[in-house]
């Protein structure tokens, strides 16, 4: 299964943020989307998630040679600032989410099993989410996005708000689930991208470009990425 982006264009007022972004993302890989501040990473995600309309181009899923448009169940989107309904407890939110998406869910576990999977402590499960820390909210958001088991998982700077221990747990978790998903992970922390991702994709001047590692060592690879980000020939 593939997610294909073809010549995606998006502009705000007169500013062209995406100018014909082209790329094919495949299942089973974690893609690290790198870009400088304001390069349009979040805009690209918002376009794929259909939060904003694109001005040109198209994107679709290709499955065994058959193209089809993306539907709601295909996408999970974890925002950089986690948003959860604060008037619910973690358990209530999860219960609600599972009830709503019951038909689409492939496997059914108990609520506590899900919390265990995400390493959310027992005492936190029945607290109102308004009292959750940033990292906890982020975990909840990640959890409900993952349990729906969407084909495409967009993660916008997801690990930056976690402490090192949780970030490590999350990394392991993402590696664990990657075989069933197309994971696109935006960040501007290069070490994280190199450490976690199978492929590095750079968003620069509104277009997407893969940086093949080939037989470079890590330092050379970093140099190459930075050169590309600067807009120089690598």
């Amino acid at each position: 299964m593939k997610l294909v982006l073809e010549q995606i264009e998006k502009k705000f007022d007169k500013k062209e943020v995406l100018r014909g972004a082209d790329f094919t993302f495949e299942k089973g890989k974690i893609y690290g989307l790198l870009g400088r501040n304001g390069a349009g990473k979040t805009t690209l995600f918002n376009c794929i998630n259909e939060d904003i309309e694109i001005d040109g181009g198209s994107f679709y899923i290709e499955e065994e040679g058959i193209k089809r448009p993306i539907i709601s169940e295909d996408i999970g989107y974890v925002l950089s600032t986690p948003v959860v309904p604060e008037f619910l407890t973690g358990r209530e939110f999860l219960k609600f989410f599972i009830e709503i998406n019951a038909q689409k869910m492939k496997e059914s576990k108990s609520l506590d099993e899900y919390f265990d999977f995400m390493k959310i402590e027992e005492e936190d499960r029945d607290k109102l989410m308004k009292d959750y820390s940033h990292g906890m909210k982020n975990k909840m958001q990640m959890l409900v996005n993952i349990i729906g088991s969407p084909t495409i998982l967009l993660l916008d700077e997801p690990l930056t708000s976690f402490d090192v221990v949780v970030a490590d747990e999350m990394k392991k978790m993402l590696k664990e689930i990657k075989k069933d998903h197309i994971l696109i992970f935006s960040t501007h922390i290069m070490e994280l991208a190199l450490d976690l991702c199978d492929e590095i994709v750079i968003l620069n001047q509104g277009t997407l470009e893969a940086i093949p590692k080939e037989n470079l060592d890590n330092e050379e690879f970093k140099e190459k990425i930075i050169d590309t980000l600067r807009g120089e020939e690598g």
Binding site: V83, E86, L88, I100
Partner: protein, 523 residues
């Protein structure tokens, strides 16, 4: 002086930019004004000059308005000597203003930018802006007091002393507040509500109250007070000039929650915090509700403080009012006839009442702040059938909540009609009852539909849709206008019921048609 000029330029540029920003948000004009206007020389200068001119006109005009409305108008109904009453009202209102309109203690955006962000020296900024404030005050008061005051027959001496006494008071007030801050280190922002209400209360009471009991300040007393205030003002001046607390003061008043309203994220964060604090924790009972019913039930119960509890409170208050009116009608035949007349001819008035007791606006606001703001980020929540399912559940709950106070009015009005002598046409009872309930349903539908169709906020909780504010404004205006409108209940109630039914039908149609597309976060 230089500090002052810099802060001027800053606040004026800020003001002009705000104008451009607002203009760019209006539907049609948006297209005519490019974002580059912010940086464009000529046009920008034009807006800038326009802004300064308008500010100047306002500065002068507001004094005329204040003098006319707050002092001269009440003079016409107060007993006793005109000039005496004038000085009394002026003296005490100005004393009140010395603490509630100070410049020094007013936490403004301009101060935040100048002192906190641009790190201008706090003391020189504070003093220069205080001098400017006082000078501006004197200059803008002179024409108002000379023109309006003289016209009203106030002696020239008094008129000339007006700006002087005002300056004396303002200096004294500021110095006193500064001293208080030095002593206690407590926040003394002039927007402090406790301070504001106690000082304002006292000022108004003394200003308008004393003349009523003929104990007002005589004109000679005013001259004496003006003279006595001179040494006070001089002392105050010394305190103000010598003080070293300005930086500390600004740190305090400019960092308090919600006061830095100039910074958008902060305003939104404060607003969100305020809404989050309305969430009640504790037991909730959801029975065996599932899915959106379960979700909505939790929302309502966790917001019971502002929803069900507040509706109940309104209902209790209405019961008390109703009981009062019932009693009145029993003991006062004249009032009784009047009430009977109201029941039969003034039903339009109750549109405004029903508008006021309706919880729709509060509910939708809370829905957005504490629920939809985050939930709309989830794609499943924006699916057409999810939007409509939740809309239905919400509408029913909203109607249920609004029925609590509505029921009191709906039962109360026919009861009042019956007790005050009844009517020849018994249909009136039924119509009163049904039309009030229809209004309750109407407003519930209206608020929720408007919210679903014109959802005005973006991710940062800034209202982005002027259409939403316009619709709300027009709704308020129309309801308010109904107060002035009389019609026989039979006709008006029938029309209300018919209109409600049609409106609800049309509104629901529109929601089912468009809400799935329109109900999303604005970009």
């Amino acid at each position: 002086m230089k500090t002052l000029l810099v802060s001027f330029r800053l606040s004026n540029t800020y003001g002009a930019n705000t104008w451009i920003y607002r203009l760019r948000r209006l539907p049609v004009i948006k297209k005519l004004i490019p974002a580059s206007l912010y940086g464009c020389g000529g046009l920008k200068k034009f807006v800038y000059i326009l802004y300064v001119i308008l500010k100047t006109i306002l500065a002068f005009g507001s004094k005329f308005l204040y003098l006319g409305l707050m002092i001269l108008l009440p003079l016409s109904i107060l007993p006793g000597d005109k000039a005496g009453n004038f000085v009394n009202i002026f003296f005490f209102l100005t004393a009140m203003g010395a603490f509630t309109n100070t410049e020094l203690f007013n936490p403004t955006k301009a101060k935040y930018y100048t002192v906190v962000l641009m790190r201008t020296d706090a003391k020189s900024y504070a003093l220069s802006s205080l001098w400017w404030f006082l000078a501006k005050n004197v200059v803008t008061w002179i024409p108002a007091v000379l023109i309006l005051g003289m016209q009203a027959g106030i002696p020239l001496g008094v008129c000339l002393l007006v700006p002087v006494v005002m300056t004396e008071w303002k200096l004294a007030g500021s110095a006193l507040m500064l001293k208080y801050f030095d002593r206690t280190g407590r926040e003394v922002s002039e927007n402090n509500l406790k301070l504001f209400f106690s000082v304002t209360g006292a000022g108004l009471l003394l200003g308008y109250g004393l003349p009523w009991i003929r104990a007002g300040l005589p004109v000679q007393g005013f001259y004496l007070a003006a003279a006595l205030l001179i040494p006070c003002a001089v002392c105050s001046l010394r305190i103000l000039i010598k003080s070293k607390s300005y930086k500390r003061l600004y740190k305090k008043i400019l960092n308090l929650n919600g006061l830095i309203f100039g910074v958008q994220e902060n305003a939104a964060a404060t607003q969100q915090k305020a809404y989050l604090s309305k969430i009640s924790s504790g037991e909730v009972r959801t029975g065996n509700k599932k899915g959106y019913d379960y979700f909505n039930e939790l929302f309502i119960q966790r917001h019971r403080k502002i929803l069900t509890h507040s509706a109940r409170k309104t209902a209790y208050i209405l019961v008390v009012i109703l009981a009062g009116v019932l009693l009145l009608s029993q003991f006062n035949p004249k009032a009784s006839r009047g009430i009977n007349e109201v029941m039969l001819n003034f039903l339009p008035y109750f549109i405004f009442v029903m508008y006021l007791v309706n919880k729709g606006a509060v509910v939708t606001q809370a829905m957005f702040m504490n629920c939809d703001h985050s939930m709309l980020a989830y794609r499943f929540y924006r699916q057409p059938d999810a939007v409509l399912k939740l809309f239905k559940v919400r509408l029913l709950t909203l109607i249920k909540i609004n029925m609590i106070p509505a029921a009191v009015i709906a039962c109360g009005l026919p009861l009042l009609l019956f007790i005050t002598g009844g009517t020849e046409n018994p249909l009136n009872y039924a119509l009163l009852f049904v039309s009030i309930l229809a209004m309750a349903v109407f407003f519930s539908v209206h608020h929720l539909v408007i919210y679903y169709l014109l959802q005005p906020y973006n991710v940062n909780m800034e209202a982005k849709s002027s259409a939403y504010s316009i619709v709300n404004g027009v709704t308020y205006f129309l309801c308010y206008m109904c107060i002035k409108f009389q019609a026989p209940t039979i006709i008006f109630a029938s029309l209300t019921i018919l209109f409600s039914a049609l409106y609800i039908g049309a509104a629901l149609f529109l929601v089912y048609r468009y809400a799935p597309v329109r109900f999303c976060l604005k970009q």
